[in-house]
Symmetry: C2
Subunit: 273 residues, 2 copies
């Protein structure tokens, strides 16, 4: 079965829309954009579209790439103190002249709807995930919850590259009582782990790192990342040869972005409350 | 080989003593103790003994069990603001009338040498571990570093029960490029994982959960927890039957406490600087 992410995202948006329609004061999402790359523009466009669809206010704060770190910190501080902004994000990447970490650490954790501030990350590690949640990992968890997949006792392999996705998803899966195997580029033989897994989540950007012979029947496959080779896009999973062997597989492309935005808006609603 | 934790702890203490001897202003460790249970008394005693050995100041703040949450929060605030206190801990458990989380969240993260505040936990998840470190997990990492064990590419199974140890050790091992398998009480068959592991860290308190036939030759075994059955103490590892099969094994009892205190004092020195 191919995972119907459009339906899952749609259900989240509809539910948010209904909740927000009952609120006297609408939640407001702010986005700081310092860059001129087309991917960032596209991501921001999606966030605006769906924020407005669910009935939130949306404000874009656009700055030239020559803005200084100090000036950007001041802009972050303005939004921290702005009572009209429920939550905001700083769209990454930032220009090289600016230290990402400094900017992210300056965001008030209660407005950090992108969930990048260490205090939010820490919360998921020790307390619970009732508060703001990491967007892409929570998007993955939304899939499991939509299909009533009980993670307790399941063997889940996570193959990763970036901090943003794999560490929080590992923590969230562990919180849900899964047995989690965290593989990286130094893992001697990943097929040893993929072949015994009930669920595989891959976010490496390495073309077709997961192949048909590496997984067992009825596995659930979640493909989170891609790369370009000779101008052609390749995802982590060899989708065409895998899809008939799995019980569920994410289609490509599209789902990651949509689920990430859906969770971002859920966070913004939480922050508004 | 039996891991010589006394030597490892001793080396840490000696190094701290030397560093502190060169400081004009000695680091100071504070301990808040609200309880009258003999284990807590014993733990505090050890902290005092070694803090004084390395040349730190040590201050014990003892309160009756009828202290209110509000009063205890005020005491925490006093130590947050006391420039003579480099770092301090609140010895757990606290009486049931007091919410642990509230108290821990009130500690200034830069003085949180027990590493329980969410902002510190978050730091290990995303940034690095150059700052204050979780005590028991770091004690385990000290063992690997003492014996020059390169974790990159190693398969490490962590079997856990408590938040304090297993989540941070999982994050730290992942940071060190190990392939980490996190097992819990819902894992269908842990021997499937222990039998392919280079290193096993067990902290369940379940008697002899790790037996000889479940591990491969030359495995490294780290035993973190114990339990009492009929007044007899049992650790997670069946030590007598395992010791000749391993390349390294932690002896019991003693090592966990010693390494934890050693890291606590390292944290206090960091906090003083």
């Amino acid at each position: 079965m191919i995972i119907d992410w459009k339906k899952i995202a749609w259900e989240i948006y509809e539910k948010l829309k209904e909740q927000i329609s009952k609120m006297d004061r609408k939640p407001s999402l702010g986005v700081i954009l310092v860059w001129n790359n087309p991917s960032s523009e596209k991501y921001v466009e999606q966030k605006k579209k769906w924020a407005e669809f669910v009935g939130m206010n949306f404000a874009l704060y656009r700055f030239e790439t020559n803005i200084s770190e100090k000036e950007l910190l001041e802009e972050v501080e303005k939004l921290n103190n702005d009572t009209n902004t429920s939550g905001f994000i700083v769209q990454l990447p930032l220009p090289d002249s600016i230290d990402d970490k400094k900017i992210i650490n300056a965001i008030n954790p209660t407005k950090d709807v992108d969930w990048f501030h260490p205090i939010n990350q820490g919360k998921i590690l020790i307390w619970d995930n009732s508060w703001l949640a990491p967007c892409t990992p929570s998007g993955i968890m939304e899939i499991f919850s939509h299909y009533d997949i009980n993670l307790s006792g399941k063997i889940v392999t996570v193959i990763w590259k970036s901090n943003i996705v794999w560490k929080p998803i590992t923590a969230m899966l562990i919180n849900a009582w899964a047995t989690v195997i965290s593989c990286n580029s130094k893992t001697p033989d990943i097929s040893k782990f993929t072949s015994i897994s009930d669920i595989i989540i891959s976010a490496t950007g390495q073309a077709w790192i997961i192949k048909q012979e590496m997984v067992k029947d009825w596995v659930i496959l979640i493909d989170v990342w891609f790369n370009y080779i000779d101008w052609k896009i390749y995802w982590d999973m060899d989708f065409e040869n895998l899809k008939d062997k799995t019980s569920m597989i994410t289609p490509v492309p599209g789902w990651v972005g949509a689920m990430t935005v859906a969770v971002l808006l859920k966070n913004t609603l939480k922050a508004a409350k």
